[in-house]
């Protein structure tokens, strides 16, 4: 970010990280290192010596993991660009609602999402039924194509939102100037959109790659069998089938290194944020004609792909929603507690690391890197490692709530920073000098300069964190206690007790809660009316 403007007087306006924020950032960094390295170390410590080894099947798992994660990231982001472009340029009734709903797949629990996808693309799904009705042969979703469909379904929404924010940060003045200069589409792409995309696309690729890296149940079921074995499944096997902790730790290490390499490679690719001075004015009207048709097509197709499976989840759950058994309703409270705590932790974590990435001198890249790779270790290893660390000290059941909230917050941190950091940097690049020359103190600078520009991405990020936490069925399974079940746990139990219809109702309830939490926080924190164009 120091590329912003190398004025000799830089030190005059560039702020220093205050001591309180330094302490916060250090605490967050320590916590994240404990989560990743500590958990991995704990698992290794409990392992029988010399048990680890890479088997031939692991190479196949490594190859498949890399292939599916790379393809999922490329396809999700490639499709997200035209969709985000169309959404950024067009205004139509229901646009805001559409953007919110199109974000829903990302926050759905994976089992629910898979059911929705199969209701459309499965052997017995609507698409195959329509093809049969038209007299065409059907298609099979099971295979690499299925894994990709599911991962794009999950991640297209996130990629779209991240890129949409990039578009929203293009100052209206640039677009007006481009229009005044008579830029055609190509020139506009070269001078405005291309450079903006080089700032946001590598980050979006990295996020999606990291998410898909640890996928296993979804990859297995849609991948059609052991061909679709990912490293995370191999880790699962090492734990549960062989109880070989050394092997599990080794595989988790390989998986973490893959993620780290991807992050480093993509960081080299991305352009640094530049000062794009602008006055936060509305954008000029976009081109009509062909451009309009292309945008309409992009929005329609993406909406159909993302919303039809959701509609199926809603239709299946609706008749059973009101009749849900009491324990399901009781678990809602527990889920709200976990999500609430998780959001608070996420806010503290992203404030600490975000501002450190902005103002800490030499430590800034470290703060950013750590935040972006908050959960590189395998979720399975983190859960087990924490269990090993906690067990001698305290009854794990007592930790179920805080540990789940903490891991959920760490899960959401990379997305949160991807959303918040660019806005912070932009605000700093645009207004830091002005703020310094006016002699604003740290408090006033945060309140008057940064917060108004941060609150929309912050609302988005914290809303996302709440929704993710609401739907997560990860570490809590290891720490769970009777009576402290969360909604995803109850959903899982209903499915395990043949109660498919109640499970469909519970899935809908979970969808409503996740989406509700997301919208509420985004509105509450982000403010009702966008001051800036875009998201």
């Amino acid at each position: 970010m120091s590329g912003a403007a190398r004025l000799p007087a830089e030190t005059l306006w560039r702020r220093r990280l205050p001591a309180s924020l330094t302490a916060l950032a250090l605490a967050v960094a320590a916590l994240l290192l404990l989560l990743n390295l500590g958990a991995l170390g704990a698992v290794l410590w409990r392992a029988e010596p010399g048990s680890a080894g890479f088997r031939s099947a692991d190479w196949a798992a490594l190859r498949f993991t890399l292939t599916q994660a790379a393809l999922s990231a490329l396809i999700s982001v490639a499709l997200a660009v035209p969709v985000a472009r169309a959404l950024a340029r067009r205004r139509f009734p229901g646009r805001g609602v559409l953007i919110v709903l199109m974000g829903a797949p990302f926050i759905l629990p994976s089992l629910v999402a898979v059911a929705g996808i199969l209701a459309i693309f499965g052997r017995n799904g609507l698409a195959n039924q329509a093809l049969a009705w038209l007299g065409h042969g059907g298609f099979s979703i099971y295979g690499l194509q299925g894994v990709l469909v599911a991962h794009v379904f999950f991640n297209l929404p996130l990629a779209t939102r991240l890129i949409l924010q990039g578009w929203a940060r293009v100052p209206a003045e640039h677009l007006r100037l481009a229009a005044a200069l008579g830029f055609d589409g190509r020139a506009q792409w070269r001078h405005i959109e291309g450079p903006m995309l080089r700032q946001v696309v590598p980050g979006a690729l990295a996020v999606v790659f990291l998410i898909c890296l640890s996928s296993f149940a979804v990859a297995l079921v849609l991948g059609g069998g052991p061909r679709a074995t990912t490293l995370e499944l191999a880790i699962f096997q090492a734990f549960r089938f062989d109880f070989d902790l050394g092997r599990a730790a080794l595989l988790a290490l390989v998986q973490a290194v893959l993620g780290l390499l991807a992050l480093l490679a993509l960081a080299r690719f991305s352009l640094p944020m530049m000062a794009l001075g602008g006055l936060d004015r509305p954008v000029p009207p976009p081109p009509g004609g062909l451009g309009r048709a292309v945008d309409a097509l992009a929005i329609t197709l993406a909406a159909a792909f993302l919303l039809l499976p959701l509609v199926m989840v809603v239709l299946r759950g609706l008749p059973h929603l009101m009749g849900l058994p009491a324990p399901v309703w009781a678990s809602v409270g527990q889920s709200l507690k976990v999500a609430g705590l998780s959001v608070l932790l996420l806010a503290a974590m992203s404030a600490g690391l975000g501002l450190a990435a902005l103002w800490a001198r030499r430590a800034a890249p470290w703060a950013e890197g750590l935040g972006m790779s908050a959960l590189l270790a395998s979720p399975m290893v983190i859960g087990t490692g924490l269990f090993i660390m906690a067990f001698p000290l305290i009854n794990p059941a007592q930790l179920a709530l805080p540990v789940t909230a903490l891991v959920n917050a760490a899960m959401a941190l990379p997305f949160a920073l991807r959303a918040m950091l660019p806005a912070l940097r932009q605000a700093e690049a645009d207004f830091a000098r002005l703020s310094a020359s006016l002699g604003l103190g740290m408090g006033a600078h945060l309140r008057l300069v940064l917060w108004p520009r941060l609150r929309r991405p912050a609302g988005f990020a914290l809303g996302l964190g709440a929704a993710l936490s609401m739907g997560d069925l990860g570490v809590i399974m290891l720490f769970a206690q009777t009576g402290g079940e969360t909604l995803p746990m109850q959903l899982h139990r209903l499915m395990g007790a043949y109660r498919t219809q109640d499970a469909a109702g519970a899935a809908l309830l979970l969808l409503m809660l996740s989406l509700g939490a997301f919208v509420l926080l985004e509105r509450l924190i982000g403010g009702k009316e966008p001051r800036h164009a875009g998201t």
Partner: protein, 329 residues
Amino acid sequence: MRNPTLAAGLLMATALAAQADTPVLTVYTYDSFVSRWGPGPAVKEAFEAECGCELNFVGAGDGAALLARLQLEGARTEADVVLGLDTNLTARAAETGLFAPHGIEAALDLPVGWDDELFLPYDWGWFAFVHDRERTPEPPASFRELIDSELSIVIQDPRSSTPGLGLLMWVEAAYGDEAPAIWEGLAPRVLTVTAGWSEAYGLFLEGEADMVLSYTTSPAYHLIAEEDDTKAAAAFTEGHYMQIEVAGIVAGSTQRELAQRFMEFMLTDGFQSVIPTTNWMYPAVVPQGGLPEGFETLHRPEVSLLLSAEEAAERRDGALDVWRSALAR
């Protein structure tokens, strides 16, 4: 009260004292056992009514996760009893040295003999492929017929699911050296493999696949709870592999006597009568009232297959390699 903090403290102290008088028996089990829809709540009530103790169920994933958790905790575990391992896990469980002999001689209603000094069965079932009578009126009657059919099946991954591992052992027990050929024949029939039982069963109910690997008792759920008689288990002439679910006393338990009482209680009506319509399995000892109405409609295989715990442990890794290479093509 002038000093509410003190009052609260006193109240808590009395509550703690009352608690300390009641011994607590901690039973680790799998998640679906403790759920509201599983046997847990009724078993807890029945045992607490007669033991003068508190029964504390701790749910930990499924059978394999349960054992992994016990191994993680080692000798320091809080568990007094572990309930929910099956015969594919007992060899590994015995190896940990964490279990103590139960010393119970009981007449069990199992199709096979039982002689294990560490583990005592509480329920059992046969694995089977479940189908919908209307969609598949003439199901295959053997693995070979299934191979020759056009039907699609969903199975579970043996690496992450106990029924998945059960199928692996089923093919091993029925075909031995021919198992690789059977798996190669089955491969095109396998629509997909899921990580757990519930996902596979869900796919079947949605109509994604014609058959799903489950239990001969699965149709009883639909019949009894949903009054739906369309689901049935296909009878295979090779015989059906069994799953026997067992419990064992943890050697380091501080409540050995109570644990022993629980194991004895486990085979009485208070426990056994709950099993058929919550766990949807056969009780290890048929309760006095017999099996619930509807169970008589279920297919009862003439041949029950079961590898001994040692044999199952020995053949597991080889069978897994066969499975993986046949299905990974």
